[in-house]
């Protein structure tokens, strides 16, 4: 992998009064990467994005774009594009004027502007809507205008602040695929802020998980899902997770209140949490071929469409189990049933506390 970085943040700190919104953040974002900042609201992800844009000034630290220190460069002189949470389309301008604005500010020739706007409208699939007023467009179309407006200036980095938040689920799913395609086509670094892990997982090359102004983990979606660096990431990512606290006895063995749990590896010592994803857990009247096996009672069962979610009580601890497949309907367990749950040792992972 060639390591050209489009954006680098070094020790960024931003305080609002007594609140530390961004707390010593270090990030190196690669060229042409789709990079997401993911975290619950108030975790500092939007502030981090606004610092990259120059809309907020960091109290400490350095922002670099393609190696150049831009910390003191005002927003309008940084070559960035930004798509805002509520889109921020100019209400007094039509689609063409909105998209052309950035080019006009750069004193591009009229003919050239027309040509470039036409080209970008093709990319975002809005041909022929140049003269529409922005409030006559649907949510999805407005989205594309905002994207086109930010992309037409060929920014070095495109910053997106929860741009899909206001859309319906179906359009949102469609736009996720679109966005990824557009990113591949225009070959620009996208930095995407969201609180929605589906969006981040679907589109990103890498994700930074943030909480309380600090970066918790940076990694590919796969790494973040299967190798969370702490319990916060483990429980924040994925629909649900089973975490059992315990003490490492020796490599691959963790003592918990439920007994010893077999794991593949355990490099750390001391107190840890064992993580098992719900889809890794087997459930049956009688289980074979598992390394960890517990007896429990079904508490509740929820039909979720493509899978069934069981909550199983094991000695006062609730396990969440996801079972896929239509055949399961016939062999469904019911609340109150005694069942066995279990998983192989390579499905249980040790997470530092």
């Amino acid at each position: 992998m060639n390591d050209v970085f489009s954006v680098e943040l070094e020790n960024i700190v931003k305080r609002f009064g007594n609140v530390v919104a961004v707390d010593h953040v270090n990030l190196k974002i690669r060229e042409n990467e789709f990079f997401s900042l993911l975290g619950p609201s108030g975790c500092g992800k939007t502030t981090t994005l606004r610092i990259i844009a120059g809309l907020e000034e960091p109290d400490e630290g350095i922002v670099k774009i393609y190696g150049e220190d831009v910390t003191d460069v005002p927003t309008h002189k940084r070559n960035i594009g930004m798509v805002f949470q509520h889109l921020a389309l100019f209400p007094h301008m039509n689609v063409f004027e909105n998209i052309a604005f950035g080019l006009k500010m750069r004193k591009v020739q009229k003919e050239e502007i027309r040509r470039q706007v036409k080209k970008i409208l093709e990319i975002v699939k809005l041909e022929g809507l140049e003269n529409r007023r922005v409030n006559q467009l649907s949510g999805g179309q407005q989205q594309r205008v905002a994207l086109a407006r930010a992309l037409v200036i060929e920014p070095e980095v495109l910053l997106l602040d929860e741009p899909l938040g206001a859309l319906d689920l179906k359009i949102r799913q469609h736009m996720m695929v679109e966005l990824k395609n557009i990113q591949r086509r225009v070959k620009t670094t996208f930095i995407y802020v969201t609180h929605d892990q589906t969006e981040a997982m679907t589109m990103s090359d890498r994700i930074a998980i943030m909480k309380d102004g600090k970066v918790q983990q940076v990694g590919t979606p796969l790494e973040i899902y299967y190798r969370p660096s702490n319990t916060f990431v483990a429980s924040f990512i994925g629909e649900a997770v089973n975490l059992i606290e315990g003490e490492v006895r020796e490599n691959g063995l963790v003592d918990t209140s439920l007994g010893t749990i077999y794991c593949t590896e355990s490099l750390t010592k001391g107190r840890v949490a064992v993580m098992v994803r719900p889809e890794m857990v087997e459930i049956s009247d009688k289980l074979h071929d598992v390394d960890n096996l517990f007896k429990g009672t079904v508490q509740s069962i929820i039909f979720k469409g493509s899978y069934i979610e069981y909550r199983v009580d094991v000695q006062g601890n609730t396990f969440i189990v996801h079972k896929h497949g239509s055949a399961e309907l016939e062999r469904m367990h019911h609340p109150g049933d005694f069942v066995e749950i279990g998983w192989r040792k390579n499905s249980s992972l040790i997470v530092p506390i």
């Binding site: 809309l55 309008h76 594009g81 805002f84 921020a88 100019f90 209400p91 604005f101 930010a150 200036i153």
Partner: protein
């Protein structure tokens, strides 16, 4: 309350009648041929001719317009600045400033007007159009600020940030983005300021100098002197049509604002 609906309907109709009839009677009798204000004899433009041929009326109308225009422009600039200051920035003493802006609206106008007069006399400022304009502005700015502040409360600041990310500097952002998007609010506030100035009686009455009269002053002096007369009916109807025109503009501006 089904049973009360007819009663409510009749009551509402009566109230509308109460609101409209004085104005309608005034307008109708402005076209009366006879001098009577009680019996309509014949349709005539007689009193209008008298009004139109009165140079004092035209002078006053002209005065009202230019005073209103100056007051509107200055109040708009100052009001826009104040509204932007209180809606966008936080600074110490902001809430005090906000209350200070509100207070002029609630103080009785007669107290305001006489205080202005006392000040002008105390400072030896000769009374005339300038003192009238200063008085109008001092109070209209509050109204403009209040209207603008209310409209700007829902203003999405991120469109300015968007402009900046697209390469516009602060100057370009203000003139190409901020001002055009606020245009309907500015129009509505401007028409309000103009109407307030154009219709103002009390402040003008006490802060004007010899010979400088506005339209309301002429109506006032003839009403206070001679009471109801057909000539005053037609002058009032004439002034009414101007107020009306501006009210229609204002309504249209507000309509545009809601969209």
């Amino acid at each position: 309350m089904k049973g009360t609906t007819p009663f409510l309907k009749i009551f509402t109709i009566l109230v509308f009648l109460f609101l409209y009839s004085p104005i309608i009677v005034m307008v109708v009798f402005s076209f009366n041929e006879s001098k009577s204000i009680g019996v309509f004899t014949n349709f005539s433009f007689r009193w209008y001719e008298k009004v139109i041929n009165n140079p004092e009326v035209w002078k006053a109308l002209f005065n009202s317009f230019w005073v209103g225009a100056v007051v509107t422009i200055v109040s708009l600039v100052l009001g826009l600045m104040m509204a932007m200051a209180v809606t966008r920035y936080s600074f110490s003493g902001k809430s005090i400033l906000e209350s200070l802006i509100l207070i002029p609206v609630i103080i009785p106008e007669i107290a305001e007007a006489l205080s202005l007069l006392i000040m002008y006399i105390f400072l030896n400022i000769p009374l005339g159009p300038v003192t009238v304009i200063i008085g109008h502005i001092a109070f209209d700015v509050s109204f403009v600020t209040i209207v603008m502040r209310a409209r700007m409360a829902g203003y999405d600041k991120s469109i300015e940030e968007a402009a900046r990310t697209l390469g516009a500097n602060e100057f370009q952002t203000f003139f190409r983005i901020t001002l055009p998007t606020l245009y309907p609010a500015i129009l509505a506030a401007g028409l309000l300021a103009f109407t307030l100035s154009f219709d103002d009686l009390i402040k003008t009455l006490f802060t004007t100098g010899p010979g400088f009269k506005t339209l309301p002053l002429i109506v006032w002096s003839s009403a206070a002197r001679g009471g109801v007369s057909p000539e005053l009916n037609s002058l009032s109807s004439f002034a009414l049509s101007i107020s009306f025109l501006f009210a229609v503009f204002r309504l249209r501006a507000e309509r545009r604002l809601e969209r």
